[in-house]
């Protein structure tokens, strides 16, 4: 296999695996966060605005790791520097 094929295969496979694994962890974590938030909302409904706001901030922090994986996948597929280098070399 020449280097173009290796780069293409590696980029495609890793892009798929990155998004696949990268969304599992944050999804589990967000599920636990929302479950705990719902429990505390049921116990203390008058603090609901604080709980909701803190929940959203926490969800955003957890979500950002999934976004990092997504951005890496997008870079591998659409803005792959090795691909562009090899294509420019040919």
């Amino acid at each position: 296999m020449d280097s173009i094929t290796i780069i293409a295969v590696a980029s495609i496979v890793i892009a798929g695996i990155t998004t696949g694994f990268g969304t599992m962890g944050p999804a589990l974590a967000e599920g636990r966060a929302v479950a705990t938030a719902l429990t505390s909302l049921a116990q203390q409904p008058d603090a609901s605005s604080t709980i909701t706001r803190t929940l959203f901030v926490g969800l955003a922090m957890i979500e950002s790791t999934a976004i990092y994986c997504f951005v890496v996948s997008m870079i591998l597929i659409f803005a792959n520097p090795f691909w562009n280098h090899i294509i420019a070399g040919k």
Partner: protein, 231 residues
């Protein structure tokens, strides 16, 4: 496949490029500024006021309450910065309804610029509130060993702000674009609605995180003796 509105160029003059990101940002600025000027031309303080004035008052009071909820005691000092952030990002995301429009926050340049504004604003408000000595002392807060970690955390949370907003807006636009080529009728509308929701939530999160960072930089630190003496 176009990754961001940066690549749609309208005019080019030597090194300067007028791309879609800049044009849409100018459009948003025009709408927000001219709309506000028109609404606040005749403000009334009686009970009877126009509905647009009512709308602006609801928005401003809501943002003030949120800033107070985060823990900043005088929200009017920070209302200009944080309110502008939230309004710009929310308008940028909601205007996706207009056909032919792409949110300028779907380009890394806009989000990095906004994150840099927050990066500069946090020490600005910190120094304005606590003085230079007090603010710089907060970097060695628990012990001196934490100094590099505090600096790294400042830089990384700015980067996280930029990438989070960019990732959410770009993924929304890209999913709609891809779906338009596959199932052009009903499904893209559902995804546009989802994009609207996530755009608004991300605008809220961006501003609330900026408020939390500013609150962390300006909160009054009790000296240890007082903290130990209070029962």
């Amino acid at each position: 496949m176009r990754l961001s509105p940066d690549q749609l160029i309208f005019l080019r003059y030597g090194l300067l490029k007028l791309n879609a990101t800049i044009v849409f940002t100018w459009g948003l600025m025009f709408v927000l500024v001219v709309g506000s000027i028109l609404i606040t031309r005749k403000l009334s303080t009686e009970l009877k006021r126009s509905r647009w004035q009512n709308l602006l008052e609801m928005v401003v009071t809501g943002i003030e309450k949120q800033i107070e909820g985060v823990g900043l005691p005088h929200p009017e000092k920070y209302l200009g910065f944080l309110g502008t952030l939230f309004l710009f990002l929310a308008t940028a995301s909601v205007c996706t309804i207009i056909p032919g429009y792409e949110p300028p926050t779907g380009s890394l340049s806009t989000t990095v610029a906004l994150a840099l504004c927050v990066f500069i604003a946090v020490p600005f408000f910190g120094i304005a509130d606590q003085g230079i000595g007090g603010y710089l002392k907060s970097y060695v807060e628990p012990t001196v060993i934490m100094l590099p970690f505090n600096i790294i955390s400042e830089i990384s949370r700015t980067l996280a702000l930029a990438v989070r907003l960019f990732g959410n807006m770009m993924s929304g636009a890209m999913i709609i674009a891809i779906l338009l080529t596959i199932t052009p009728f009903v499904f893209p509308i559902v995804m546009t609605a989802l994009g609207l929701l996530t755009g608004t939530v991300q605008a809220y999160i961006f501003s609330i995180l900026a408020a939390v960072y500013i609150a962390a930089a300006t909160r009054v630190r009790m000296p240890k003796a007082e903290a130990a003496a209070a029962p």
